[in-house]
Every structure is written in C-alpha cells, then in structure tokens.
Amino acid sequence: MPENPMSETTALLHARPMVPQIAHVRRRRHDAPDAWTLELDMANGERFLYAPGQFNMLTAFGVGEAAISVSGDPAEGPLIHTIRAVGPVSKALTQLGAGDPVGVRGPFGVGWPMAQAEGKDVLVVAGGLGLAPLRPALYRLLGERARYGKVTLLFGARRPEDILFRHEVERWRGRFDIDVEVTVDHATDGWRGNVGVVTTLISRHDIDPSKTVAMVCGPEVMMRFVAMALMDKGLGEEAIYLSMERNMKCAIGHCGHCQLGPTFICRDGPVFTYARLKPLLAVKEL
C-alpha cells in the first residue's frame, strides 16, 4: 500500500492508530437520493495517499466513527468519500458542510488487485452504492489505460434516479476506451435503458476467462450471485475479487468485530478473491 515513510499522516497513524487526524470538508455533493460525497483536505496540508479499495474510519465529532471506502482518484484531487446515511454517524457525516472538521484514521485494508490486473481485461461489476469503492479503481484503469486490456463496467442500480455518479457514468459511457452497461431493478415510463438485475448484464457479456480479472462490489447477496454468474462464464475463483463489509470498531485488527471466519475484513480485506471467500460465504451467520 502506498505509504510515504516521511509523511506525518503515516507516522501518526502508526504511533497512535486509534486517534483521528483532522481534515476539513472542502465540498459536499448530493450524488444519489440517499448518498452524499464529501471532499476532504487534511489539516496538516499533506496529500492523503491510498490504494483503490482501501477505506478510512471517519469521525463525526460528538457522534462517532464509521468505516467508509475512499471513492476518489488516488492520483489527484482531495480525499473523497461517498456516504449513505443509514445510522447516526453516517447521517451526521452527510450533514457536514464546507469548512466542517472530520476525524480521519487510515488508510486501511487490502485494496483492488490493480497489479494483478495489468495486461488483462478488467470487468468491473458494481451494484447500488458499490460503485463508490470501485470508482478509485476505475480512475486508475482509465488514468493508466495502456496497462490494461479491455475495460468494462457493468452497473446495476435500484431505479434510474438512484444511479450513483450518474453524469460521470454517462461520460464514461461516451468514451471509446471503456464499455459501460447500466441496468436498473425497476423503472417507470421515461427510462429507455436496461431493466433487470446486473447478473443479466453478465450473461449477455462476452469475456475471455483466460485473461480477465473481475472486481465486484455491492450488497453481499448481489456479489454472491455475480460471482456465480461470472463462474458460469468460465472465470476462475482466483480471478474474481469482492469487497466485503462487516461491523468495524478499530480497523487495525485489535477489536475483533470485523471477523469473517479466520479473516479480519479490516486487515485481510476488504477485498478478497472469491476463492478465499466462497467457503466462508457458504456458512450462514458465520
């Protein structure tokens, strides 16, 4: 994971891993009916370095802390997080405005397999808000385009108005160096695009299993069935990567909450191969 050994952010993270560092909100955007994006700048003036797929623990002072994937461009720009308001902490985070302070601990976790994907076709499959943790990977794929083969994004959302980063997805769709297919679970009159689950897009899509890497993110049920659909297309378990989520309190492998079988999601994940996950996902309430 990219760490500048000279950076104060990194040094403090290791010296006091449970103490947040201060960042300020540069801007807040409303990216989907229940999702807001915060653009942050570290108070110490350093650029926040991270790998696509990693996450931070964000503190809403006075409320609490939550694990949120980084959803920006690792190569440039502010530190970006897309947050869905589902509990008191995420709600408080989505209500922050320009200038407000936020606590940041991170980056944590194993991210998307960008190195393993070099020279290969990359199939990115996103469901709902799962596009947010995948967006840094897409920026990397498009930003260093020559390193990768065919790049495809298959994106399933709930309804047309729930399509996350819609304008950006439309722009990607207009490019010649990436294939973008979008579908929604249901729609009303006025939507002329695909309707159906995202697994339908997979069965329609042709891949060369011998040189494809898949990166999948979305609700766990969706990821399970997407993995199955990808395997039906001949893709091997080792070539399918999922990003998992569990309850997190420390993100440093000390609190025990994020365990899935023998893995700590914060430390061994959140990105895992389907080969690693398959036996774990097969046991209910593991």
């Binding site: 002072f61 606590g103 309190k249 609190c255 365990q259 023998p262 593991l286």
Partner: protein, 379 residues
C-alpha cells in the same frame, strides 16, 4: 520481555516466607505497583498488594462447571488455589480506557491523544497458563501491523513473578493445551511453593537478568536436589490431576469441518449469551468504542471498553446482526478460540485455565463441547 535461557538449566534458589515478604517489599521499594491475588467478594481476585499479609494464606478454591467457592486449607499455603475470575488482562488491556479527547472552537477541532501512563506493574502469582495467555495477547495487540501503545506501555514495563501450580484447579486443562502447569518462559522469577518437607519455603527459578538482580537483594539459599525434586514432584502431581482434556486430534480441523453440526443448536439451548466466558477469559481481547460529548458540544471523547462476541450488537451491520442466533454466536466464540485463532495468530486462543467453565452460569464446558463433536464423528 524476559525469557528463561533455553537449554541451560536456570539458576535455582530457595527463599522462606520472610523472603517472599521481602520480595514484595523490594518490588514496592523500586516504585513498582505490585498486583497479586487477594480475597474479595468471596473470590480470589487480582488487586493491588501492599504486603504479604494480603495474600490468600491458607485459602483454596473449589471449582466445577458453573461453581466457585472458597474453602479453608489445612496448611498456610499462599498459593494453594487455581485461578479466579480475574486475569492479568485487567491490567494490561484495561477494561475501560479513554483514547482521546477533542475540543471544539467554532469550526476548529483539536484532538488530544490520551497520554500513555505506564503503571510499572509487578505481577505476583502468574500461573503458567496465564504466562501463555499474556504471550498470546502480546501477539494480538503488539505483533501485527499496528501496535496498541497502551498495552505496550503496561506490558513492557511489567515485572512477572510466576507461580508453578501445586494442584490442579477443578476445571483446569492446561496440560492438553500445552500451557502448563510448569511455567517455562516469560517470567522474571518463578516460584514453586514447598510445604511438604516441614519448612514453608519457595523454590525460585530465575528467568531474566532483572529477576536475578531482584533476587540478589533477598535472603536466600541455593536450592538443594531435594528442593528441586520436591518442586518437580508438585508440578508433576498437578499435571497428573487434570480433570478434563481436549480430544487428541486436530481440533481446529475438527471444528472447521463441523460448522453446521447440530451440537451448536444444542449448546444454544443452554447458553444464555451472558458473555461471562469472554469477560473471564485471559485471551479474549475484543473491544468496542464509545463517543461521549458534553451538552454544549464543545468537548468530546472516545473510550475503548471490553466487548464480547456474544452481544447482539457485536456483528451489527445494515440494520441487523450477522449472528442473530445464540448458536452462531457460541460457534463464533468457540471456533475462534480453538480453530481460527491458529490461522490468525499461529497458536490456540485457549490456554486451558478453565475460567469459562467455572464462570458459566449454566456450566457449559468447552472441552465437553469439543469432545461431543469429535465423538459424533466416530459414532
């Protein structure tokens, strides 16, 4: 971390009861906070010790699944009991610890990390199983990519006086977990209480230079061969009187291939999900965090406190618990302790101290549960 030199036989001495008294005094004179066993609330717990008189002299414990009772011994042994509801994690991995404070002035927030305050502990009476438990928590909290600075501060300064058990506790199974009863490493000094030869003495093994230095201040004599024999006999007697044991086989593999075994439903009929076992277990390390703030919103802080995988909140995500049933939570605890811990940290999480068996209100026995699953495969 003090370790006995492997291979070479450690130096051994004998001290009297006065010597033990002097040991405690000498530790306190060095500014150490001495913590050891003492009687409180009808149990032998670990607390600050001012002098030898506070130790449970002539007291023993009677333990069985779901039962704990103190009783009078026929002698004046100072360590004539097994382990109680406390473990040393109470001091190394504090039950409640403030992590940081934040102060808000308008849009500006400043965060102040809670200063690390080494307590300069001296632990008196650490059993072999507990030494192993401490080493296990060392691996979890200091041996990964991130180090817990609070644990580290208490741990690195701690002086450890171990005690070799002269009798097996009612629920002990350290032998089958390869965690005792002999203290082998991780101590500065190790005592074996000798009351069988007329005099009341302690065989002392030196485990570190710091231990040797302290011992040099105490009245002592070199150990004679009969002292050493008596000490070894005591430990052997303890090892031979274990009341329970884990099955001989590959327990991690056994449990991981039986994740859907009906025994999990069966134990869930009895388990109250009360979390006692996790509280008393010397290796359980799970914590949670809580944010607090004053009414004006100007000051906030975060506290870390012990947590348990038995609570419904523990695995809460997306509107519900990943483990909503008692059976899945019991399975999580037991498979973590005996199976997945291996993959995570290279050892068992269990040291066979028996606390979870003793302090379970319904007397669930982790060895019995494992035996039941193993037996069902042979049936």
């Amino acid at each position: 971390m003090p370790e006995a030199s492997s291979g070479a036989s450690p130096e051994r001495y004998v001290i009297s009861v006065d010597g033990l008294r002097a040991l405690i005094k000498a530790l306190r004179a060095r500014g150490r906070r001495v913590v050891g066993p003492t009687v409180a609330d009808d149990a032998i717990i670990y607390d600050d010790i001012d002098s030898l008189d506070e130790l449970p002299c002539g007291v023993t414990d009677e333990q069985e699944a779901g039962r704990y009772k103190l009783a009078q011994r026929g002698d004046d042994a100072y360590f004539g009991y097994a382990v109680g509801p406390h473990s040393w994690k109470k001091f190394l991995h504090k039950p409640a610890l403030r992590l940081w404070r934040a102060e808000r002035k308008g849009d500006e927030v400043t965060v102040e990390a809670e200063p690390v305050e080494p307590q300069n502990f001296a632990f008196l009476g650490v059993r072999a199983c507990e030494l192993k438990a401490i080493a296990i928590q060392d691996r979890v909290l200091m041996g990964g990519d991130y180090v817990d600075p609070h644990y580290k501060a208490q741990r690195e300064g701690a002086f450890i006086v171990a005690v070799n058990c002269g009798e097996a506790g009612g629920t002990c199974f350290c032998v089958s977990m390869d965690a005792g009863p002999k203290a082998r490493q991780g101590f500065d000094l190790a005592l074996t209480e000798l009351t069988s030869q007329g005099a009341h003495e302690f065989l002392v093994e030196v485990g570190s230079p710091a231990g040797a230095e302290l011992l040099a201040e105490l009245p002592r004599r070199p150990a004679a061969s009969n002292d050493i024999d008596a000490a070894e006999a005591a430990v052997e007697h303890t090892a031979a009187s274990m009341g329970r044991h884990m099955p001989e086989e590959d327990v991690p593999a056994l449990l991981m291939r039986n994740l859907q075994h009906p025994r999990w439903q069966e134990v869930a009929q009895r388990c109250l999900s009360c979390a006692n076992c996790t509280m008393v277990c010397p290796t359980c390390f799970c914590t949670s965090v809580e944010d607090h703030n004053d009414l004006a919103g100007a000051e906030s802080s975060r506290t870390r406190r012990w947590d348990s995988c038995f609570t419904m909140d523990y695995s809460y995500i997306h509107g519900g618990s990943v483990r909503p049933t008692v059976s899945s939570r019991y399975r999580q605890w037991m498979t973590h302790k005996l199976a997945t811990w291996h993959e995570q940290f290279g050892t068992y999480g269990c040291v066979g101290c028996g606390r979870c068996i003793t302090w379970c209100p319904v007397g669930i026995d982790i060895t019995e549960e494992t035996q039941a699953i193993a037996a069902s495969e042979k049936a």
